[in-house]
Symmetry: C2
Subunit: 374 residues, 2 copies
Amino acid sequence: MREQIFQIMAADPRCGARRARLTTAHGVVDTPVFMPIGTAGAVKGVLPEQLETMGAQVILANTYHFMIRPGVDIVEKLGGLHRFMAWDRPILTDSGGYQVFSLASLNRIDDEGALFASHVDGKPYHLNAEIATDIQNRLGADIIMCFDQCTHYPVAPSDLDIAVKRTIQWAARCKQAHANPEQLLFAIVQGGIDLDLRTQCARALVDLDFPGYAIGGLSVGEGHDHMIRAVAHTAPLLPEDKPRYLMGVGTPADLIACVREGIDMFDCVLPTRNGRNGFAFTENGPVRMRNSIHADCDMPVEPGCDCPCCKNYPRAAVRHFFKYGEIQGPILLSLHNLTFFQRLMAKMRTEIEAGQFKAWADEQLPRYRSLYEA
Amino acid sequence: MREQIFQIMAADPRCGARRARLTTAHGVVDTPVFMPIGTAGAVKGVLPEQLETMGAQVILANTYHFMIRPGVDIVEKLGGLHRFMAWDRPILTDSGGYQVFSLASLNRIDDEGALFASHVDGKPYHLNAEIATDIQNRLGADIIMCFDQCTHYPVAPSDLDIAVKRTIQWAARCKQAHANPEQLLFAIVQGGIDLDLRTQCARALVDLDFPGYAIGGLSVGEGHDHMIRAVAHTAPLLPEDKPRYLMGVGTPADLIACVREGIDMFDCVLPTRNGRNGFAFTENGPVRMRNSIHADCDMPVEPGCDCPCCKNYPRAAVRHFFKYGEIQGPILLSLHNLTFFQRLMAKMRTEIEAGQFKAWADEQLPRYRSLYEA
């Protein structure tokens, strides 16, 4: 009998949170999990061994970026993304759908797929369910995503309706095209903040039977409350025994709130992008490293943190690196912020195992919201 | 009895090469040694733990840069450079002399010292023997350098003569001003490629009795042969039982040739600066990572190298990072090049210990010259 792909080890009866293990071709992922983003083949400024040290279990890479450069052929010739990214643990690739709508110049989109011009050099590309699946088959990530149609917020109801219909049709085509049984193909639920459309999309995709489901099209400007409402509505529509992945989310409060609603996987650029800009996440709120208050501060960025930044450097040095454009600043804060996110997820896993997640979340959620939305 | 500061463990009777141990307040340095440069508080893109892993024993920091930003007061308040740079092994600071002449806008220089405008914001600064020594006392490096007057190449004989005289006078004043017995104050021999002036400067400085001596004012355009000639002439004028440091040198061939002449310590920006520009040092010659020949190459940058770049990444990925501006490229090649330089020095130490250095150097020197000067 085949090993169970997604094994739930503990669930909090007082909320949706669950603690599980997702088995992939390159190893097991303990969920709830946060996935650092290695857009173009690297988590910017962070080496694979540093990701391992901080406890990162699975990283994300972007199909769109690899398609444009260096090109799928080169990655495939080298043996796939794991070799190219020097990462022999699980990798997830998105389908390119999000970038086509957010980054590229979209020339045409219809039921067939999308024609767009690369954001790099304007070169024309074609992406549809079959092509996105084939590319991901060749890139060789452990988890791959269905090609979907994303929408902006706000969006006209008729456009949202079309996007949901296409996302469902395309998911069926992706499943049909998927040719590598080593890879888990996840479907993506769209529907914006329209709960009826979310229901419609989730039901149709569940009928198609995927090994995992994502919730897409959120964290695009709708705000925390709308986002949580959509997640709280959609998560229970997805099979309990399959992993649920909330794409592109989020802040510490978002992560806590969505684990409480039953989400298992997250990815977000926040820790690395903010880190590069001198913004540190800590348990006691943001620390903005360019602030002159840190000029002669001997404290670590976050006391008690064991990351290579906090373990070694005083804030004064980190501030100095940011103030004077030394690359050490972005490197150190990327390491710290990713470590902070990994620590937050590990804490949530422990709280779920201990049966105390709901109480912990009810206490931490308002605290983190006020710290990071002030 | 005080421990011997510089202990020679082996010397090659067929040339000047020697294998020694230099004891400093933050530990022992095995020489011949190459010191990575942490100009503004960090070896750009490389973390302290990565420097330790590659075997770096002592790093260099620039007094001039710290004086301008963040300022000596801040570093001193934090407890000194070791805390600021997160490096608890030996540190060497230069005196600022070189940067005053190469980087700043020099407003006035006379026997007293130098008035200059910072290269950053034009702010006026004053540096002389006493100030440079006081700053270095407060920065707290293990090895500090006398304030000297550097010259360009070529230089008018009268200017060179003045620079040598001042360098000697300033060395005496630095010794007088030096107020921290934990720090070793090295004197710097100037004199360009004028061997008589080198003799004059070396003898005067030796009479003043320092715990170590540097040869400065080389690698400024005079070329390998002139440089080696000046080093071969000057090194034997320095006490055999004191460390000899050749400043700002050099290529692999330079290092081999100068160890053969009896040099114990080196520093140079080549491995990091070239690394950031996509130029890799290898045993078999330069590898220019932007070259399209590497686009689908599965080989490491240097086969057999155990650095975080070569151990993990194919050339295709490193080339991709450089071609598309991913910060991973400069980080990986800085790590590789510094590892290459550390390996080269370790090899030389081993060859000296084995009594085979001269034969090894005679074989490797022409090889490295042709590889890196082609």
